[in-house]
């Protein structure tokens, strides 16, 4: 199935859905409105024509202060069909909230925790949204573009 066919399939099956194709992306990426993400993901996972049964990667990207935007990129992979696509959602930077997909793909649980940890994107409905790589009392989210590390952590100097 070509990406164009997939796009038209999604737009035909899910009512009032507007997808935009992202230029210059490998694999092909579709930008999905934040409020429709769950429907699209459930369709992509369940429908026999797509059947994306593996979530390869979940990436959060901070586009910086000027753009005032964050993105979450889901790389989906279909083992029986041999297809890969990416799904992108765009969030505001002040209050980045997106619905969780960890009930569709269980692997998203830890990926989302990592994204929350390093970028501060919150996932609604996540069963256990704790920090995973950094200690619980660490201040700030390192992968944000305007991150300033704290001066002292438990009496140790952070800057080396």
């Amino acid at each position: 199935m070509t990406p164009q066919a997939l796009k038209s399939l999604l737009e035909a099956e899910i009512s009032e859905l507007v997808l935009t194709e992202r230029e210059q992306s490998t694999p092909v990426a579709f930008v999905v409105p934040v409020d429709r993400l769950k429907e699209v993901m459930i369709f992509l996972h369940q429908d026999s024509r797509c059947y994306f049964d593996m979530l390869s990667c979940l990436t959060g990207v901070d586009l910086g202060k000027e753009a005032n935007q964050m993105e979450v990129i889901y790389h989906l992979n279909s083992i029986p069909k041999g297809m890969s696509i990416a799904v992108v959602v765009q969030l505001e930077r002040e209050n980045p909230v997106v619905v969780t997909v960890s009930d569709i793909w269980r692997t998203a649980d830890w990926h989302e925790r990592e994204t929350y940890d390093l970028l501060g994107i919150r996932f609604e409905g996540h069963p256990d949204l704790r920090r995973i790589l950094l200690p619980n009392d660490w201040e700030g989210h390192p992968l944000r573009k305007d991150y300033k590390e704290q001066e002292y952590y438990h009496g140790m100097k952070v800057e080396y």
């Binding site: 992306s25 490998t26 049964d53 990207v61 083992i79 692997t107 649980d109 830890w110 995973i132 790589l133």
Partner: protein, 404 residues
């Protein structure tokens, strides 16, 4: 008078790594045990918070991050080619495979993938497969050690020493190579490497049979690992588990075949899958057995690469391994996701290039061990504590990659 570096406070550990369970939400007779970070079976620095009821494990909560260096933040502040040493330090047991994946991704972004000479590609595959064998040897050897078999560990370490020496001969380092560059190699193979490597392969084949007899088909080992930690295929796919763990669950899925990157399509090798020979498909024994068979397949691949390197793509006097190395790496603005088959699973790199600088705007590593570890709580409900050690060992974790 030097100032005190760390001010100890009794609450510090509770604030920084709090336990998920506490006395309030335990049932009668249950207790919390911390396994790790120093426990030898946790392969580095992994802490498992275990809720036990006597000898039975009720719940496992992995705590990670002890080795976190925030590789992704580092990668955003340096040019593409300078990230390679950091990539080495992710999965430090198979650095060549990491470099291969990374270099391939950047080359595809630049569009110079087709310009790479075939000889370079064959050398890359050769060193990556040598490193794959070394990684699987560590996995099998330490797994035996976890369960209590001492001798196989010494045997595989002896053979791995030869591998390390071969790799040291190519690039001067034993573990962190920085050998595969974007667009080429650091050096060509040293003179006489092909002959020495052929010699080593002939030495290794009977040693693999010995290892199989000594450990994999040993009745004590089978008793400890068969029917333990069974991972069904649908659960494995849903958890995103890849690599030998997924293949042990019975799915013939190998990115070297599926994506066919580098020169793998021209090579002839099989993909071993777990069959549940002594227990259930997808148990710990299957995972170890798949790794063992993959070593044999890697030997096959190495033989074919050596044949090519001695035949069609012979060393010539004017061959320059750095001929296509770009002077300035500045990809067009794009998103790029590349994946490759590591010894532990699918290693993915996501790049966001902004087209203006030679540094990645965002570089994310999709680490296979990180994802493979996330299935552990699912595997280890209602098992014995000693089986938990066997399950953790069978995942083949490298904490450098889990924490990145």
């Amino acid at each position: 008078m030097k100032e005190v570096q760390y001010q100890y406070h009794p609450d510090h550990l509770q604030n920084s790594e709090p336990l998920k369970y506490s006395a309030e939400n335990l049932n009668r007779g249950e207790m919390i045990i911390n396994m790790g970070p120093q426990h030898p079976s946790t392969h580095g620095v992994l802490r498992l918070e275990i809720v036990t009821d006597g000898e039975i494990v009720r719940e496992v909560v992995p705590h990670l991050g002890y080795l976190h260096r925030c590789f992704e933040k580092h990668a955003e502040s340096m040019p593409y080619n300078q990230v390679i040493p950091f990539v080495d330090r992710m999965d430090y047991m198979a650095a060549m495979n990491n470099e291969h994946a990374y270099a391939m991704g950047v080359e595809r972004m630049l569009g110079i993938e087709g310009d790479i000479p075939k000889r370079i590609e064959y050398i890359r595959v050769l060193v990556a497969e040598l490193n794959r064998i070394a990684s699987h040897f560590v996995a099998i050897g330490t797994y035996g050690l976890d369960i209590g078999a001492m001798t196989p560990f010494f045997w595989v370490m002896r053979d791995r020493e030869h591998l390390m020496r071969l790799l040291e001969w190519t690039c001067g380092a034993r573990m962190l190579y920085n050998y595969i560059w974007v667009g080429g190699l650091f050096y060509d193979l040293p003179v006489g490497f092909e002959e020495k490597c052929t010699e080593f392969i002939n030495y290794l084949k009977p040693k693999l049979d010995n290892l199989q007899d000594l450990l994999i088909s040993n009745q004590i080992f089978i008793d400890r690992t068969a029917n333990i930690g069974v991972l069904p295929m649908d659960l494995a796919i849903n958890y995103g588990v890849t690599g030998p763990m997924l293949r042990a669950s019975g799915l013939k899925y190998d990115l070297r075949r599926v994506d066919g990157y580098s020169v793998y399509p021209e090579l002839d090798f099989d993909i071993p899958i777990g069959t549940g020979e002594v227990g259930t498909t997808g148990d710990c024994w299957d995972r170890t057995w798949v790794r063992m068979q993959e070593c044999r397949e890697s030997v096959k691949i190495i033989e074919q690469c050596l044949k090519q390197l001695k035949g069609d793509h012979k060393r010539t006097r004017d061959f320059d391994p750095r001929a296509v190395v770009p002077k300035k790496i500045r990809p067009k603005a794009q998103d790029f996701y590349v994946r490759a088959e590591n010894p532990k699973g699918e290693l993915g790199f996501f790049f966001r290039a902004d087209g203006r600088s030679d540094q990645p705007f965002r570089c994310k590593a999709r680490a296979c061990s990180f994802v493979n570890l996330s299935v552990l709580p699912e595997l280890s409900r209602n098992v014995m504590i000693s089986d938990l050690v066997a399950i953790v060992g069978s995942l083949d974790l490298v904490m450098g990659e889990v924490d990145r």
